[in-house]
């Protein structure tokens, strides 16, 4: 199932920030995790992941560092900043509120 573009725009950053909460990760790793943990629902076009990362970096929510991988290639690792953690908390509250409201409305779950 593919998610609407507009919805993805809000969900993408929250998902990436959440994945980075458990530790620093590189681009392709994030692609794989998104695909795996969301059962493909949040698997964004891989090319859109990098602009998303750059945007989060511009906003100071994540930082990056280059490091050589096992095979000797340089690889860029991303990790959360304090600002990113705050933003993630904010996202969580919002998504919880949205989820609850949707459940109460009966859009999702078995409220009725």
């Amino acid at each position: 199932m593919r998610i609407e573009k507009e919805l993805m725009r809000g969900a993408g950053p929250a998902a990436v920030l959440h994945l980075l909460e458990s530790g620093e990760k590189y681009g392709y790793e994030l692609v794989q995790l998104l695909d795996r943990h969301s059962a493909g629902v949040l698997a964004m076009g891989q090319s859109t992941l990098y602009p998303l990362l750059y945007n989060l970096q511009a906003k100071g929510m994540i930082t990056s560092r280059m490091e050589k991988s096992e095979n000797g290639r340089p690889r860029k690792y991303y990790r959360l900043t304090k600002k990113g953690i705050k933003e993630l908390t904010r996202h969580r509250k919002q998504w919880e509120a949205v989820s609850m409201a949707m459940t109460k409305l009966g859009v999702t779950g078995n409220a009725r």
């Binding site: 681009g27 891989q46 090319s47 990098y50 945007n55 511009a58 991988s69 340089p74």
Partner: protein, 524 residues
């Protein structure tokens, strides 16, 4: 990357310092294609990364960063077992990717650059329309200035300055053909006529008796000038011809004009002293006509003309008070002065001359080529606005000046108190101008002073008219006072005093210490 590739001539040419030097680089490490080649990714992936990175149009370092990231992405994908085709498919639209990467990467640029970028964008969006609007307004103003100057110039050059010849028969031609000969060059008057202003001293009666014979010789030797002045006063047209010299209108010599007037007054005094009062009166009337003919051109000449007028009227007053004139002469004077009063120089004529003269000057200023010597020297005192656009600067000056002149021209018949307030307001407003062309006293007159001078000249003429009528009929005529309602008078035991309120507009009973009434006292 295989070592054999590194050794090819093509490789060396592409990545040697020579190429970097040519591209203003030093090491060749800023070329994003180099790491792509070195990564030796499967064929469809390398070109894909190259296309995406190239389309981002980012800075070199940013391109390198993106290149490294994408190489890592695809290398990790291949290492995890995905096929190049799958990776390319999952990567998505390359153009869209390049666009999004560019947008996001630029957000990571330094604050200084983003501020500069925003400023540049602002300049790009705001400055051209402002410049276009400014150019349009400047051009419109410049065209309006040219139209107005041409219009006034045509009017001035074709107008026949109607003025009645006061004596003898009117002769065809322009008075200035004669006046020019009478005035001559300032130096042509000689030291005896110039040093110590002897003609003025003689004319005003301030010269020692012992000195008089010497000056009378000067008068006699310059009588030919007076002949020209008097012949000029008989000509039908008194309009000063507009001789344009490099866009400037030539004007008669100011000192020569005053000296010529003093010569006339001195000669009149000489004649009156010898019982030839009628001839003296005619000479003075001719000097007055010369004064009127002088006054038709601009502020400066209006001031000079007014001074010439007043010189003649004051001598006529002195001779009138001294009882030199018989009844026939008085009657002749009465008619002549009434004509002079009717044809007294009008403010709108004077102002249209100012518009024409200054407008022509501004038109010339507007054509000063940028970068030339004149532009350079003028820019020093006119400032940067002139330096940027002489045309805009001169047009703006004219756009400011013309309404002032038109406002002032309407004050001719306005009661003095109101006219003075308006003239003071115009002067104050005009003095506030930031345009250096208008801060020049030669260009923007002191409107209040001009109003006063013009009305004082007229007041003196009217006092003379009233005095003559009073002497002839014994009745005080109702003649308007340029500074009040009507000229006032009082009868004393041995004299009658007639007065105008003068420039303070207040009645001081024919006198006043600091701002005196303008008066004429005639013995009874």
């Amino acid at each position: 990357m295989p070592d054999d590739i590194r050794e090819t001539v093509l490789y060396k040419l592409r990545y040697t310092p020579v190429r970097d030097f040519l591209r203003a680089g030093f090491t060749g490490t800023l070329d994003f294609r180099r790491p792509i080649e070195e990564a030796a990714l499967p064929t469809p992936i390398g070109p894909l990364i190259e296309r995406v990175v190239r389309k981002t149009r980012l800075w070199r370092l940013e391109k390198l960063d993106v290149t490294a990231e994408l190489i890592g992405h695809f290398a990790d994908g291949i290492a995890s077992g995905s096929s190049p085709e799958d990776l390319i498919r999952l990567f998505g639209n390359e153009a869209r990717a390049a666009q999004l990467i560019r947008r996001a990467k630029r957000r990571n640029r330094p604050l200084f650059w983003r501020a500069l970028h925003a400023a540049a964008l602002f300049m790009l969006l705001i400055v051209p329309p402002v410049l276009i609007a400014k150019t349009y307004i400047e051009h419109a103003q410049w065209e309006a200035m040219n139209r107005r100057v041409d219009e006034v110039k045509t009017f001035a050059e074709t107008r026949q300055e109607k003025r009645t010849v006061l004596r003898n028969v009117t002769r065809p031609g322009n008075a200035w053909d004669e006046y020019t000969m009478a005035l001559g060059d300032y130096k042509s008057w000689g030291k005896d006529a110039v040093n110590g202003a002897p003609l003025y001293m003689y004319a005003s009666g301030m010269l020692d008796k012992a000195e008089r014979p010497k000056i009378e010789k000067v008068i006699a030797s310059n009588l030919w000038r007076l002949d020209h002045l008097r012949q000029g006063a008989e000509r039908a047209d008194g309009q000063m011809p507009y001789n344009w010299y490099w866009k400037h209108q030539e004007i008669p010599g100011i000192i020569s004009s005053r000296m010529l007037a003093n010569l006339g007054v001195a000669q009149a005094k000489w004649l009156a002293d010898r019982g030839r009062a009628k001839e003296a009166a005619d000479v003075l009337l001719d000097v007055a006509v010369f004064g009127k003919d002088l006054s038709t051109d601009g502020v400066l000449m209006a001031m000079v003309g007014s001074a010439v007028y007043v010189t003649a009227f004051e001598e006529l007053s002195r001779q009138l008070v001294a009882g030199k004139f018989d009844s026939a002469t008085l009657s002749h004077l009465s008619r002549s002065l009434e004509t002079l009063d009717r044809e007294f120089p009008k403010l709108d004529h004077i102002m249209s001359s100012v518009t024409m003269r200054q407008g022509s000057y501004f038109v010339r200023e507007s054509k000063i080529p940028i970068g030339g010597r004149e532009w350079w020297s003028d820019s020093k005192w006119k400032g940067w606005r002139f330096a940027i656009s002489p045309r805009g600067y001169a047009s703006a000056a004219f756009t400011e000046l013309d309404p002032y002149l038109q406002r002032f021209a309407k004050l001719e018949d306005v009661p003095y108190a109101i006219a003075r307030t308006e003239a003071a307001a115009i002067t104050a407003e005009s003095r506030k101008s930031s345009n250096a062309l208008l801060n020049d006293d030669d260009i923007l007159p002191e409107f209040t002073r001009l109003l006063e001078v013009q009305r004082e000249g007229r007041a003196k003429l009217r006092l003379l008219r009233a005095g003559i009528t009073l002497l002839a009929t014994g009745e005080m005529p109702a003649i308007p006072d340029p500074f009040g309602t009507n000229l006032l008078y009082r009868k004393d035991a041995n004299s009658i005093t007639i007065w105008s309120l003068g420039r303070d507009g207040k009645d001081q009973n024919g006198d006043g210490e600091y701002a005196p009434d303008i008066s004429l006292t005639i013995p009874r």
